[in-house]
Symmetry: D2
Subunit: 287 residues, 4 copies
Amino acid sequence: MDPATTARLLITCADRPGIVAAVSNFFYNHGANITALDQHSSDPEGGRFFMRLEFQTPHIDLPHAVLERAFQDMVAGRYAMEWHISYAAQLPRMAVLVSRHEHALLELLWRWSRGKLPAAFSMVISNHPDLRERVESFAIPFHHVAVTPDTKAEAEAEILGLLDGAADVVVLARYMQILSPDFVAAYPNRIINIHHSFLPAFAGADPYKRACERGVKLIGATAHYVTSELDEGPIIEQDVERVSHRFNADELRELGRDIERNVLARAVRWHLENRVIVDGNKTVVFA
Amino acid sequence: MDPATTARLLITCADRPGIVAAVSNFFYNHGANITALDQHSSDPEGGRFFMRLEFQTPHIDLPHAVLERAFQDMVAGRYAMEWHISYAAQLPRMAVLVSRHEHALLELLWRWSRGKLPAAFSMVISNHPDLRERVESFAIPFHHVAVTPDTKAEAEAEILGLLDGAADVVVLARYMQILSPDFVAAYPNRIINIHHSFLPAFAGADPYKRACERGVKLIGATAHYVTSELDEGPIIEQDVERVSHRFNADELRELGRDIERNVLARAVRWHLENRVIVDGNKTVVFA
Amino acid sequence: MDPATTARLLITCADRPGIVAAVSNFFYNHGANITALDQHSSDPEGGRFFMRLEFQTPHIDLPHAVLERAFQDMVAGRYAMEWHISYAAQLPRMAVLVSRHEHALLELLWRWSRGKLPAAFSMVISNHPDLRERVESFAIPFHHVAVTPDTKAEAEAEILGLLDGAADVVVLARYMQILSPDFVAAYPNRIINIHHSFLPAFAGADPYKRACERGVKLIGATAHYVTSELDEGPIIEQDVERVSHRFNADELRELGRDIERNVLARAVRWHLENRVIVDGNKTVVFA
Amino acid sequence: MDPATTARLLITCADRPGIVAAVSNFFYNHGANITALDQHSSDPEGGRFFMRLEFQTPHIDLPHAVLERAFQDMVAGRYAMEWHISYAAQLPRMAVLVSRHEHALLELLWRWSRGKLPAAFSMVISNHPDLRERVESFAIPFHHVAVTPDTKAEAEAEILGLLDGAADVVVLARYMQILSPDFVAAYPNRIINIHHSFLPAFAGADPYKRACERGVKLIGATAHYVTSELDEGPIIEQDVERVSHRFNADELRELGRDIERNVLARAVRWHLENRVIVDGNKTVVFA
């Protein structure tokens, strides 16, 4: 697929007969070549309908803005759809917040540098200065914004200022600060966090220590959108690895990092490729 | 989904723009309620197109036969589609061939008896009499057809006679006889075998012994359609489990049976639910 | 390994230098052929030590009782060991409690009938009569003990009476009644439960419904020893399967059953083979 | 465990009664604190015996060389053992050979820089100059040794010269040249390769393309010791990931890289921690 000509439509609406026909007809009639179509209905009777359409734009007969207006008038309005078209040529801007642990950040940097994360990597912000050199070696701006209990509000304001106009998605790659509800509200369903446990088990702090004490036989990690309720946002991806009594808390933590970086990288890629639709407190992932 | 009113359309054709629109339009206009749609293109430029459409029939405006003729005339002919509609109310007839190992057969019997394999279970045929009682306790006919090198042709003829008109799909649940090309040709892409290895590794006989000798760290099983080339047919499903130096060949075999029965049960269910399309020597599985 | 001559020693004690040497010396000097040895120390400094020794008895120079007394006098006493020797020729007696869901019970029956669960299967007890025929077809006694809120104490007394002298281990194969602390105390670390979730996530009732609402991407099951604290006992084994937004609660439940039966069967086998040592609220599993 | 005082003994010999007792006795009597002991017998009757003993040295009553001579005289000679003691304080020297693909190398560099690969990373040698900067940013020497069909012998000689006295283990992190038997013979069971398939399936070149053509549902990678028979050496570790018809050969390759780097990193770590013993064409891995 040529990214220069790929576009993706995401739709959410009440499920009703005829939606697929109406949408695919519209795009076909305007010269779009549909290269992928996924749909999901939470319930054929009275459920919600979700759709992802990937299409190629070269032979479309209208400018983008006109096409979008026509889609709203002729299809989306009729079905009361929430919808959005993304053009892969316009890379989404991605900012990453991180504290001291570099593993999740490095995985993102490495995949991005190999062309596997379709984003404009606009900056890394950290409450510690440690990772500056590493980040700048990828030619990505690094900002150190210290956070103390007393300066938290100012720090968040500073971060919001840095992000303003420069981030379509904010990734928390083990950022060990809790964001205020106002911060979260500024990026609804656009802040992705990696939680170092298999949520909802061990929500909160120190999950590996608690997993070790509880004697679990699998440990995991969870990538989710951040909402104002801590660790309760819609889950995008999870994974686990098998462990045994031989693992102490440090060894769980070390293995956990491998899970975290892979789970986060997958979730970020799916988000960037417009594969995730939020449905209340759940996600539909057209992976 | 009410099975009484569920129908499924499978399509294969050359990929061309407009197919999804044409198909979904046709069914929408005739009152079908589309409840699932999956599609795949092997290559947007000059590739093959595959589609599975699940729809509800209550409000369709035409009798089935008329609808199918109309679909051929108005859509399928235009795109040179291979296609078939299955109605879930007409359960596909399933026959199982087995030798002495009961694990794969039992899994099928157990899932079928719980309503998880949508088939009419027409019979079990075995070249050994051992499993008669077990099979008949599920009220399923059991036929013993002995096979020796000298009587192989007669035995196959007898089996084909038993199957005639009574089997839409034939499952080899560890049937330790090689079927002749003529037998295979009678059920193209409708004979499902479970091979007790992770194909193409260890094709042929005695895979667990050879896996043990090779010192592999994972063992697996493969469900595939049977073709005239032994162990080379289209793969439907595979799975593996981790092993170590502690497993001898018998223990690999024992663990392998758990993999085999699950892999076969998944493949059979997908086939029965019309989720598998054969594409040359590969499968498209809309699971 | 010939079960008729296999014995297994489990040891727990404070970790101190010389334990392995003392134990292996003792058994070597008395003619035992050690065929497996596993050990674990929770911490080389001040931790707990766990050991499993499998040995063959034919050339042992003393009767079992004398050997055991000598081991206590010469080794175990010196290190203040908790220890126990099991002789595989004396099969542990296993009773299963079940309600209506048959999947976990059937898996145990099937594996046991194939010789893969080294136990004397003494009985199945259920608070529903439904599974009588299925159980008795395996020539295993079935007891129906109805339980109502009013008769719970009597029912437990009746069950304890049935188990008395007939059960070394009690398996709850989806038994939907909460056992009283007195019942649990009668079989310390000898009641194995299968919980239909990945504990500690979704402890309590209806885990699949709650997993569906929470939108998790993996579901699991947990086999654990029952303690007086509900769902908090030592975990023996866990496993998970990947799910997606396409699974409703019923489909999660159905997939979950496959996980439950495999996880429970593994945990029971490990227990029967003396591979599990309880360490506070955790387990050491020498699998 | 304090690396400064940790030692590890690996033993291979014919299985006979009394080995564990003799070995553990010897080390206990000389003041070694045993912190881990793993053993395996390929067959209690006439099989091979394998053992790994990890112990702490502070209270040992003899200098290392004297202890080793005493062990040979008093224990190892009696049982005709092949054995070796490694002292964790003396880091094994590791050299990596790589071509153009950086993913496997980077994973090793990253884990090594975080202290998770206990080796002295002596050099990276490549037949391409591309990765120099990346390697040198970790302060590790980089050598470019071009290889053409005509200069292969000279190139190998040059590489052997670079390695001489500087490598206890050689890791092929996607080195796309076949090593000559003489080269391999210089480092018996000390060259670790990552093969980009699940061996023995798709041995040889271009495995992802062939896996795609065969329509497999899982792809994998294999870390193994290099022998003079291409792709036939003892397997150390393998892993797989699930794929579907949606993956083209490029996407399989991309996913495969994630498997490769993790499988290789695990195998290298186990080798460095003296957890791998070669048994003919198999390995015993005390992970």
